[in-house]
Symmetry: C2
Subunit: 286 residues, 2 copies
Amino acid sequence: MINHLAIIGVGLIGSSLSLSLKQSGYVKRVTGCGRSEDNLKKGVELGVLDDYQLNISEAIKGTDVVVVAVPLGAMSSVFQQMQSSLDESTVVTDVGSAKATVLRDAHRSLGEFFPQFVPGHPIAGSENSGVEAGVASLYQNRKIILTPEQDTSQSAVAIIDKMWRQTGAEVEMMSVEHHDRVLAATSHLPHMLAFSLVSHLSKMSDQDEIFNYAAGGFRDFTRIASSDPVMWRDICMANGDALLELIEGFKNELSEIAKAIEHKDSEALFELFRDSKHTRDQLRDL
Amino acid sequence: MINHLAIIGVGLIGSSLSLSLKQSGYVKRVTGCGRSEDNLKKGVELGVLDDYQLNISEAIKGTDVVVVAVPLGAMSSVFQQMQSSLDESTVVTDVGSAKATVLRDAHRSLGEFFPQFVPGHPIAGSENSGVEAGVASLYQNRKIILTPEQDTSQSAVAIIDKMWRQTGAEVEMMSVEHHDRVLAATSHLPHMLAFSLVSHLSKMSDQDEIFNYAAGGFRDFTRIASSDPVMWRDICMANGDALLELIEGFKNELSEIAKAIEHKDSEALFELFRDSKHTRDQLRDL
């Protein structure tokens, strides 16, 4: 049970968490904080928030848990603003999609409070963003990855672990490096491909017409290109090394296909498609 | 109204067409033909077919319309087998995803009957294949592209046009070249990207674990990698030139992103993602 929760950055992720915890009665009071007062007012209207503050140090005073759900590029500044008014008993967590830079920022800015910080990442979301996009069921049967360090407080980890389990999610522990590599492969790279594809096609001369003939497969494939550009800019900046390695590997793989097409090597194409289908089919049952 | 329809190659596309036309009472009798008798028997059991033939010239005798729904690589052989028993009054159409090679094959093999052939392509489908995957609603509000030539019979075009409209689809006319370019962009390239991505990730050392953390975005993005490998091998062979040009352009686009990540050019990344989101958001309303 959490008496008082603060959410810094009230978008899809934060509002879905709040709605879920409120629905199960696991949280008594949720205070929102963010730069847009309109957004925070909407949060109160929608029942996502009980109240709000525009000032971070005010927002976190006397809270049990603080969830930082801002884009990666804003983490450092948020931690700095928290440092002066953070209670010893308050546990802080985040929801950033890349963890190495968040940990670096937390180390630098939280100082002595660093052990109270539990780095986290819910593997959930949608191409929609904003407080209105929040849904209580977002985390059901989804995975939450926590990447605590050696000096992270075990009791702090236990509190965040329990909070996420209340939403119906499964919580797993992972090293920061492993998290950032796995996410670069399964999330960051696919987003780059979707953005690139839409960008490339939009430059073709018969643009409008091309999109007219986009069928279901294309829509599924490019849905993630509707994601928040600020969030994705920050992910690229934060997890650039892992991402660059994957982009390079992907380009080589695509070049293999191009070479097979060029040489009319139908057997090589068939084998690659057959193996990929086999791999992807297994995902259906997961 | 069609008295007797033959479907050569009874998979997702052919069986969905049959189910739809039967449901609306637009067809009296549907004869299936294909290499697997088990599949044809299943078609009869499922009510997709009224009867079947293993021999193409038997299957098309006395029919009003023949729909050729085999992979592109099998078109030429099917046309050759049809040639000897085709009636002058029978209209032939196909559903191939690339049209230049189909027209070339039809020209070569149908000879004097060529004007009775109406090249067509329903922009519909799913990653599922086979007769069991057929659904009567598959073509509702979807586009069917016909690419008739100068010497294609106008009355033959009218018959195929009317047949497809019965399924709830919208029919459009297009040149072969334009069709093949547009489809390379909106369908063939995205499939190559999905196959490449799954193939690349499956080679990474922590393969199994990587796919464990695949969230909704990844699933949407790679769903089309479950598509039929034979169909896609043949599309690559048939529409290789257009596809190679697009793969090259796409790789350049992706390299731009990689360069921006490398140079920490956050502004360039933001602009590219913002513009792509804007373009993709417009597709939601289509």
